[in-house]
């Protein structure tokens, strides 16, 4: 079984400042890792994913995450945030080669301060 820990439930950040949202996972097997974003009054959307290969993955809107196997982490970063990044961010894990069952963390609410 897998589990995901998101240590920060809320992260306030000033506009144009950098941000890091932390995610740690636990699993006895190889995993796929994901970040999902939920904008206000919208459904969950896939932001980025790690399946294999390069441990650094990027999204189209400037976010990146790095898979660190030794630290079992998949932290999400952005060098300069915008008001439009205000949302809830969920880290998730699934067993690679399994049935795509996603196990989610409890989420981090990112609030951008103008």
């Amino acid at each position: 079984a897998q589990s995901v820990t998101q240590l920060d439930s809320q992260v306030p950040v000033f506009e144009e400042a950098p941000v890091e949202l932390r995610c740690n996972y636990s699993s006895s097997v190889s995993v796929y890792l994901f970040w999902y974003v939920q904008y206000p009054n919208q459904g969950l959307q896939l932001l980025l994913k790690y399946l294999s290969g390069s441990t650094l993955v990027e999204s189209i809107n400037g976010f990146e995450a790095e898979f660190n196997k030794s630290q079992t982490s998949f932290h999400l970063r952005k060098p300069s945030v915008h008001i439009s990044d205000t949302a809830e961010y969920f880290c998730a894990v699934s067993e690679s080669g399994g049935n795509e069952k996603l196990t989610f963390g409890t989420g981090t609410r990112l609030t951008i301060i103008p």
């Binding site: 919208q42 959307q45 969920f90 049935n99 069952k101």
Partner: protein
């Protein structure tokens, strides 16, 4: 391309009543998921269908929850009787297949309040 549709968007019922949620996945998607998201928690998988067969229902409280996916397309999730702790957002998601990585697309959810 139309997204995953869910209805109703909101539902308020009293405890011990029954309720049903409907989901229409993206056309052509073989796999359908129902998740429960309690306030302050991440979504938790309740049941996964591959076409009209159940792949995983290990976390579905079968004494009160039931789900079906007739003809491998639409799906209905039912709660009977509802308890206060069932208050949550119920999310439906679909993906093209299984056995590899296929992105899950989520619907807007149904917010259930049990009083």
């Amino acid at each position: 391309e139309a997204g995953v549709a869910q209805s109703p968007r909101y539902k308020i019922i009293e405890k011990r009543q029954s309720v049903a949620f409907w989901c229409n996945p993206i056309s052509g998607h073989a796999t359908l998921y129902w998740y429960q998201q309690i306030l302050g928690q991440g979504p938790k998988l309740l049941i996964q269908f591959q076409n009209n067969g159940v792949v995983d229902d290990s976390q579905l409280p079968k004494d009160r929850f039931s789900a079906e996916r007739l003809k491998g397309v639409d799906s209905t999730l039912k709660i009977q009787p509802a308890k206060l702790e069932d208050s949550a957002v119920y999310l439906c998601a679909s993906s093209f297949g299984t056995g590899g990585f296929y992105e899950q697309y989520f619907g807007p959810g149904t917010r259930l309040t049990v009083t």
